[in-house]
């Protein structure tokens, strides 16, 4: 496509001033560029109207699905205020705790593992890398029955690792930390020249000092991307959270908001819309501002849909 543009612009300078507004040029502009604007309007509508509709429903004080078809007919913050009377903020806290802890844990473990694979040559290195690659193909979510039974058994020994414990859910998420992130980070660690470590080694730094004081500051970009991806993936997880967290005050947003609308969809619609606006806006802003970095991370491994 861009190649076509370069030919037209190459021919343009000679005749540009004269021919700019002739019907022929305009027709060509429409054929090559202009039609993309009306099409874009359609796509914008497709992409954005559900979100605009949700915003309108969130602001509609009537709060039920039945009356929310006309956009912004009635604007107020009643739904947002009503969230305070529900367990919504507890769920927000739970989600931040669970997803934050598993993101930090995933970054720490993945980073350490990537450092080991990238910097040390030890026996079984290739084999462990291959094993990791194979293991990460089998998603944890499919083994949810075994996760459930395992937590049941663990809970009898250590209740904080059993069913209905946020720590247990964090541990389950951390189980997938190595497989999902090591390769992403391993590639990045490899781009940092080994000479840096060697110089520090010669100066007498221990491997721990090299890791914490030299390497970690240099790999902050990939740490941020992995942390964000881990946060988003645990934020969006429903099945494991649903199985592990059984009592309402332990639920995450995904479990809690599902319970809201699955039974009383039509009556709690405004609450749901308001809650989803609050929960999605930070993610939306973060995502859009970090778009460039995330795209790199996405194409390197993680997928949403």
């Amino acid at each position: 496509m861009s190649s076509v543009s370069s030919t037209t612009s190459a021919q343009a300078p000679a005749t540009a001033t004269v021919e700019r507004r002739t019907p022929g040029r305009r027709r060509r502009w429409w054929a090559e560029v202009g039609w993309k604007y009306p099409l874009a309007a359609i796509i914008v509508f497709y992409a954005a109207f559900p979100l605009v509709y949700a915003l309108s429903a969130a602001l509609n004080p009537r709060g039920s699905l039945a009356g929310s078809s006309s956009l912004f007919s009635d604007v107020g913050l009643a739904n947002f205020a009503a969230l305070g009377g529900t367990a919504y903020w507890t769920w927000v806290t739970n989600t931040l705790v669970v997803c934050g802890a598993s993101a930090i844990g995933a970054v720490a473990m993945g980073g350490a593992a990537a450092y080991a694979f990238s910097r040390f040559r030890f026996r079984g290195r290739r084999a462990s890398l291959t094993t990791l690659l194979i293991v990460q193909m089998f998603p944890q979510t499919v083994a949810f029955v075994a996760v459930f039974l395992l937590l049941n058994a663990l809970g009898e020994v250590v209740p904080s690792l059993g069913i209905n414990s946020k720590i247990a859910l964090i541990c389950v998420y951390l189980g997938g930390a190595l497989g999902a992130n090591t390769f992403l980070m391993y590639g990045y660690f490899n781009t940092i020249p080994m000479e840096i470590d060697e110089a520090a080694r010669i100066d007498g730094a221990s491997h721990a000092q090299v890791f914490w004081q030299l390497i970690m500051p240099l790999v902050v970009p990939i740490l941020a991307v992995v942390g964000l991806l881990a946060f988003i993936s645990s934020f969006g997880d429903f099945i494991l959270a649903r199985i592990v967290l059984t009592s309402e005050d332990n639920w995450t947003l995904a479990v809690g908001m599902y319970q809201w609308v699955s039974n009383q969809l039509t009556s709690r619609w405004g609450l749901f819309a308001a809650g989803s606006m609050i929960a999605a806006l930070p993610v939306l802003v973060l995502f859009l501002s970090l778009q460039r970095f995330i795209v790199g991370g996405l194409s390197a491994g993680s997928v949403k849909g």
Partner: protein, 538 residues
């Protein structure tokens, strides 16, 4: 890069020792102390957990914990295993919560683990003894008080000799000192416990129900029975009419004389064929797999579910890849003004959390009040989520909305990194736009995006969230005896069958289906990676 410049570029941090290790004290420094403190915490927690495992007699967990702890101490205090110091924490989580669960799924798939078969044989015997408990005729009753400590309820009871014992459902009766009893022998003051006044027990219906269903075991041995109360002031020993004979492995009903003996399916069965409710789980070979394919109740629905799973995953990838690529091709045009803003709006659905989008669309597609019917179909009553085919269409439509931005992002990136010289050469050779796309752009694009397409297929193959949130798997298959519906994919079917969310549990069958999913994913990944390698050779 020379050593000298490098150390100039990165001077040591303020918090690090300024003197290099080579010249300074070489003994353990701050790092060592931090490690020591961390290892002390780890060891303390580990030993606590081991003691807890010993108390509840979970020998397997105890063994694993002990090994993990010993290995941890060895790794972090030995000088040799440096790579393991970095790998070990992640490996533990990977081993316990991913690899173990994988193999455990395999193990459970070959058992009849589920409702009615929930533990070991000993647990089944205990459960049978408890379920069958009755108060013996003419057995004495003793003065009793209900005690509470926070949420835990228990009984304090005086026996015939006036000795007061205390127990809870978790903790069998044990004699306790320092108790004050009233003239009838009822404990009125128990150190460490709050005695619940009888009036309060009787006055509060939920508490009364809790108290009358409370069962405090006399000892660890289920055969000795338990203390129960009917009115909260006297307690009696309830014992089972069944008698466990460990030597013969039989349960005998002492009233009727019927002998229940174990069969190879994990049940206690009488000669007449009566079965006790409590069973234990045993290996059943390939029966679960067989049941999935041949049992009339399961085979038909599961076949439909499997076909839809493949169709759903493949169609989602094809449609969203196609649409994303189309948009990427169209809007990757430098002459277009406001490309950045357009692209940002285009990818909005991707930045919105998926589970919320699914719930949002669930409301919008509501046939009665939904905005879709209201706006676009003049208020018609179209059952988007209640008609089998429309529901399938809706699932695909919503998933397309969710995932085309991903492909737009990925393919835009890939398009921009395509080498320009190849395209130029092709143009000089006189290739048209379509020809160039077919023969150059697409094949080059596929090299970098094919692995992502495969990953996306595998992801959508197990995309539980969108199905469960949007349709719940419904509409249900008419007349089927299993709770499955026409938009159920394998993983949501496994969820329904497993019973982890309540209802009748069949962990064995659910695990067998999980194994089938694992095999499918494994085969697809293997084939796909081979195909990708072929693409790279182009």
């Amino acid at each position: 890069m020379s050593v000298g410049t490098d150390s100039e570029v990165r001077p040591p941090r303020a918090d690090a020792p300024r003197e290099s290790h080579a010249r300074g004290w070489r003994g353990p420094g701050w790092g060592f102390l931090v490690k020591l403190a961390l290892m002390m915490v780890v060891n303390a927690i580990g030993i606590l957990a081991i003691v807890a495992a010993y108390n509840v007699e979970s020998w397997f967990i105890l063994g694993v914990l002990a090994v993990l702890l010993l290995v941890a101490d060895w790794i972090y205090f030995a000088r040799r295993a440096v790579p393991m110091k970095y790998l070990y924490p992640g490996l533990i989580f990977l081993a316990v919560f991913q690899i173990f669960t994988l193999f455990y799924t395999g193990y459970v798939a070959f058992t009849n683990y589920g409702t009615g078969h929930l533990g070991s044989q000993q647990q089944a015997v205990d459960a049978a003894l408890i379920q069958d408990e009755k108060r013996l005729e003419d057995s004495p009753s003793y003065p009793l008080s209900v005690v509470r400590d926070g949420d835990v309820l228990g009984f304090a009871i005086s026996d015939a000799d006036g000795v007061v014992s205390l127990g809870t459902p978790e903790q069998p009766l044990e004699p306790i000192g320092g108790v004050v009893v009233d003239e009838s022998g009822r404990p009125v003051e128990v150190p460490g416990w709050e005695v619940v006044p009888r009036a309060q027990v009787l006055g509060n219906p939920t508490l009364a129900a809790e108290v009358t269903s409370l069962r405090v075991p006399v000892s660890d041995d289920a055969e000795e029975g338990s203390i129960r109360t009917r009115e909260g002031s006297t307690g009696a020993i309830y014992t089972s009419s069944l008698e466990w004979d460990p030597a013969a492995q039989t349960l005998t009903n002492t009233e009727t004389g019927v002998v229940f003996s174990p069969d190879d399916r994990g049940n206690f069965v009488s000669p007449d064929g009566d079965r006790l409710a409590a069973g234990w789980y045993v290996g059943v070979g390939f029966e679960n797999f067989q049941r999935a394919f041949t049992d009339a109740a399961y085979a038909g629905p599961l076949l439909k579910v499997t076909a839809w799973t493949f169709a759903f995953a493949a169609l989602t990838v094809l449609t969203s890849f196609g649409l994303g690529l189309l948009f990427a091709l169209i809007y990757n045009d430098e002459r277009l003004r406001g490309r950045k803003i357009l692209r940002t709006i285009f990818i909005l659905p991707y930045a919105f959390p998926a589970f919320m989008s699914a719930l949002l669309w669930r409301g919008m597609l509501n046939s009665e009040f939904g905005v879709i019917n209201d706006w676009f179909f003049f208020g018609a009553d179209i059952g988007w989520l209640s008609d089998p085919w429309l529901a399938k269409f809706a699932v695909l439509w919503v998933n397309l909305w969710l995932s085309y931005p991903y492909w737009m992002l990925v393919t835009t990136g890939a398009l921009q990194s395509l080498p320009g010289d190849v395209a130029e050469a092709a143009r000089i050779d006189g290739a048209g736009r379509w020809r160039m796309f077919r023969s150059i752009t697409l094949p080059l694009l596929m090299v970098s995006t094919a692995p992502l397409a495969i990953a996306s297929f595998a992801f959508n193959f197990n995309n539980f969230t969108i199905i469960y949130m949007l349709t719940g798997g419904g509409p249900a298959f008419p007349g089927a005896s299993v709770p499955l519906g026409s938009t159920d994919i394998l993983i949501s079917a496994i969820y329904q069958i497993s019973g982890v969310a309540g209802g009748r549990a069949d962990y064995g069958l659910a695990s067998a289906l999980s194994i089938i999913v694992f095999i499918v994913i494994g085969v697809i990944s293997a084939l796909a990676f081979r195909q990708t390698r072929k693409l790279e050779e182009i």
